[in-house]
Structure formats: structure tokens, C-alpha cells
Symmetry: none
Subunit: 139 residues, 4 copies
DNA sequence: GTGGTCTAGACCACG
DNA sequence: GTGGTCTAGACCACC
């Protein structure tokens, strides 16, 4: 379910946290589904249970999972976190936009890049059968 | 010339490196200009000279400065690094674009955000007297 | 009759204990009334009978219920526990009062808060038909 | 500087966290003052450095201290946290107020308790010389 | 010297 | 069985 990258400089527990956040965001792990137990996951990844414990602790602190003593960890309901994430996305976009003058990249050049990115994406999707419908007109 | 942020999680030498890269990129420090001496800068920032030494080492390794034994450190010629930096920029853009479907943000929504960003920027520039000329049609 | 909150950090047996204490205090469960059997309640809440057993044990230890071998558990007479609970209440009040200087909250400000709390409560009661008569001049 | 209470059921790291929060709140530890080092405090309290590490981690996460690698931990500026704490105080007050009808305690009885609490406090202060002036008319 | 991460192994409370 | 805390001891990056 999860693979560690030991060439990654980030701490292991952080990798675990991020991997699970992604799995939860993408819906692979659904609300109230049980997480792998601390010990079993530790064995599976052959790392120390404490490290998993710490990762689960962070996930709980961030509201992604909840722990029930003597039972296990379960994934929380993350509905309503989408707006916050969209906001963060636009903040990331802005920091990129700020760099443009210094890099002598024009607005038109950027938009052209974005457009061609999505054209390529569409092509690739048509080839593979078009299972992921395009997102349109949201928010 | 440089200010450290101790609440920043990154190591100090890295902050120093980045600050100087920025100064060189922006042309504040020009080709063949002398860098502050290791010891004077260490005193000014009240940090360990070893830390400055390490920062200068990284800057030299990355081709931003060159050291002359017994004389000091000098700014390199960074012409020709622009294309590489632009390339990095577009890679960063792509990683952001990849996140969009999952966040239910449409291409149109993004472009509208970018457009309004530049409109605001223009407004602010007209007010302050228009000193930074607009970048147009490059690359 | 009872609902568990798995997002609550407290152990389940403690939740059960508190819920029953409340039911008994509020008079929903009256003197000598029979408690649900350990096994039936365990099934109803889909938790381990041991957990219920432990909860009932605590309730008995605290004098809220009494067990009759082979028959079941029954609600005790809790008359005379009111003064003790009032005393506990005032102790809690005092710990709060002690924090006030540090928080730069004045006595007058607190009393004004309390007053407006009860005014709001009265308003809400008048709207909903006034079923809970106001408590006055006790003790 | 800090004393542990082993008869306390709460985890050690939590006790450490709370003790430091209190010291910072009360101004005993001031902005930018250095915290005892992880290892030295561990020795002083004769507990494991990991436990201190965890406590310091929580304190940093909560914005009470900041860590500089290779240097140490320093206390943050907690100005502006007062309103949040006052708000929490009133929430605690409200939970107490909610219990009153059930306990058959009237509003008047509570206010009389509070008033006499402050009268006693004043008496005690006059005896000891009156160094802590009364807080008045804030917020 | 400092903080930060990780392991190995133990103990406890809960179910 | 589960999560949660703690210890002892190690290693790393940073200053």
C-alpha cells in the first residue's frame, strides 16, 4: 500500500504522513475505513513501530484520522477541506507568478504553456479511452 | 545587506546561500564585484564563520561566485543561466497543474486567476509611477 | 438509550459510565429501575461485554447502581448526593476564578457575561414554550 | 525550574508542555530567551531526552517556542494570544453554567459566590501589602 | 555543543 | 489484539 524512498532526504515519518494524506485525498482510503495497525504497518515497511506511531499521531493532529484505543485508527471525514486546499493552491500559484518578471517570462507565454499542457493531457486521455472526464466550470 | 530569519526552519547557511543567489540574480551584486569577507559577514550576522564559509562554498560550487586565494570571493558571470532557470520554472508550473483535477479546479478558472493577478499588478504599478516596465513577448 | 462517540479521546467504558451518571442524575433512570443487561447493551452498542462490565463496575463502586447476583443491575438511591455535587461545582468555579487576573478579565466583566448568558437562556425558553421552569432561590 | 509529579496520571511530556506554557504565559520566560537544552533538562529531570524532545516539539507546534538547529530552543512572542485565551475562558465558563439547573444552583447564588471570592481575595491582598493591583475595566 | 530522527525493547490501558 | 508512553542508545545535520 505504501512504499518508502530511502534516497529521499525527508524523514520517514513525514513520507508516511504524506503518502496517507494523498491516499485519503484521492479517496483510496474512505471515511471510517480502518488504517493498518501501527505494528502491522511497521512490519510491512520494516521500520520501527514508533515511527509509524509518530506518523499516525501527525495524521490525527491534522484531522485525517482518528484513533480509538484498543481498536485502531480510522480515517476521518475530510469533507469541507477542499476550499482550504484550493486556497493553498492559489497561494502557490501566486508565489510562482511573482518570479516571472525576474525570469523574463511574460503572462502570454505562461498561458500558452498551460494551454498546451492541457491539450497534451486531452490527447493522452483520448488514447487511453477517456475514463477521466474533464473537470469543468467548478467553483 | 542580509537578514537572517531564525524562525525559518531551514539551516542558516542555506538562507545565506539563497539570499546571495537572489542578490546576484537581481543584479544587486554584479559580475566581478567582491563579496563581503567571510569574517566580516560572520561578525555582521553574529554567526559562526564556519557557517559563512559553508555558504560561500555552496555558492562557488553552484557557479555563482569564485574564490581567489588570499584576496577574497568575487561574483561570477551568470549570463546564460536564464534558460535553465526558465526551464525549472515550467517544471514547477507542471507539478502545480497536475494537482488541479484532484482539487476540482478547471483550466479556465486558473487562467482567470492569472489574468486578474496581472491586472492587479498593473494597477499597483500605475499608482506607484510605473517604474518597472512590463515584460512582453520574450523567448 | 446511549450513543458512543468514537472521535472522543476518552475510553469507551468511561463514556458509558458518564452517560449513565447523567441519565441517573437527570432522573431518566429512577431508583430501583433495572439497568440494561451487560450482554444486551454490549450488542446494542456493538462493543465488547467486558467494556460494559467494567463500566457497571465503576458505577457500582461510585454508588450509582447495585448488582443483584443472577438478577441484574439496579439504580441506587442518589438522594443526598446533591450537596457533594454542588460543592464540586464551586471548586471548579474557583479554579476558573483563579485564572482571571492572568487573563486580564475583571470580576465585573465576568458577571456581565453570566448575566447575559441567562438572559439569552430565558429568551430561548420563552420561544420554545417555557417547559423548563426557572430555578430560583434554592440552597 | 520544573518539577514532575509522578502521581499525576498524565504523560510526562504533557506535564512538561503545560509547565512551560504556564511559565511563558506568566512572563517568567520572556521572548527570545533560551530554553534549557533538551539534554540538560533531561538530565535535570532525570528522564529521557526523547521525552523532552517531544515536549519541545509540541511547544513549537503550538507556537510557544522556536527551534534553531545547532543553537537551541527560544521562546516565541506570544503577544496577541490573549484574546484567544479569553475566548477559551468564556467557553469554559459556559460549560459550567450549563450544569447549574441540574444542580439546582441559581444565578444569584453563583454571583454571590463569585463576589465573596473576590472580597476574600482583597482581604488577603491588603494583609500581604497590596502589591498586585486589582484589574479593572479591561476589554 | 545544539536539535532531530530512528531503533529496539519495554510497559501500560483499553477492548 | 489495539494505541500510547517511555527508556536507552545511536546517528545525523548544523553551528
Amino acid at each position: 500500500m505504501i512504499m518508502l524512498d530511502y534516497s529521499d532526504k525527508r524523514p520517514i515519518y513525514e513520507q508516511v504522513v504524506d503518502k496517507f494524506k494523498e491516499l485519503i485525498y484521492k479517496g483510496v482510503l474512505k471515511k471510517d475505513e480502518q488504517m493498518p495497525s501501527v505494528r502491522s504497518l511497521a512490519v510491512e515497511l520494516s521500520i520501527n513501530p514508533n515511527t509509524i506511531q509518530r506518523a499516525y499521531g501527525e495524521l490525527e493532529r491534522d484531522g485525517f484520522i482518528y484513533a480509538v484505543k484498543g481498536r485502531g485508527n480510522y480515517v476521518s471525514d475530510i469533507n469541507g477541506m477542499l476550499p482550504k486546499r484550493q486556497e493553498d493552491f492559489y497561494i502557490e500559484v501566486d508565489t510562482l507568478l511573482e518570479k516571472m518578471p525576474e525570469l523574463e517570462i511574460s503572462k502570454e507565454r505562461l498561458i500558452s504553456h498551460i494551454t498546451s499542457y492541457f491539450i497534451e493531457l486531452d490527447k493522452a486521455r483520448q488514447k487511453s479511452g477517456g475514463e477521466n472526464p474533464e473537470i469543468k466550470g467548478h467553483d
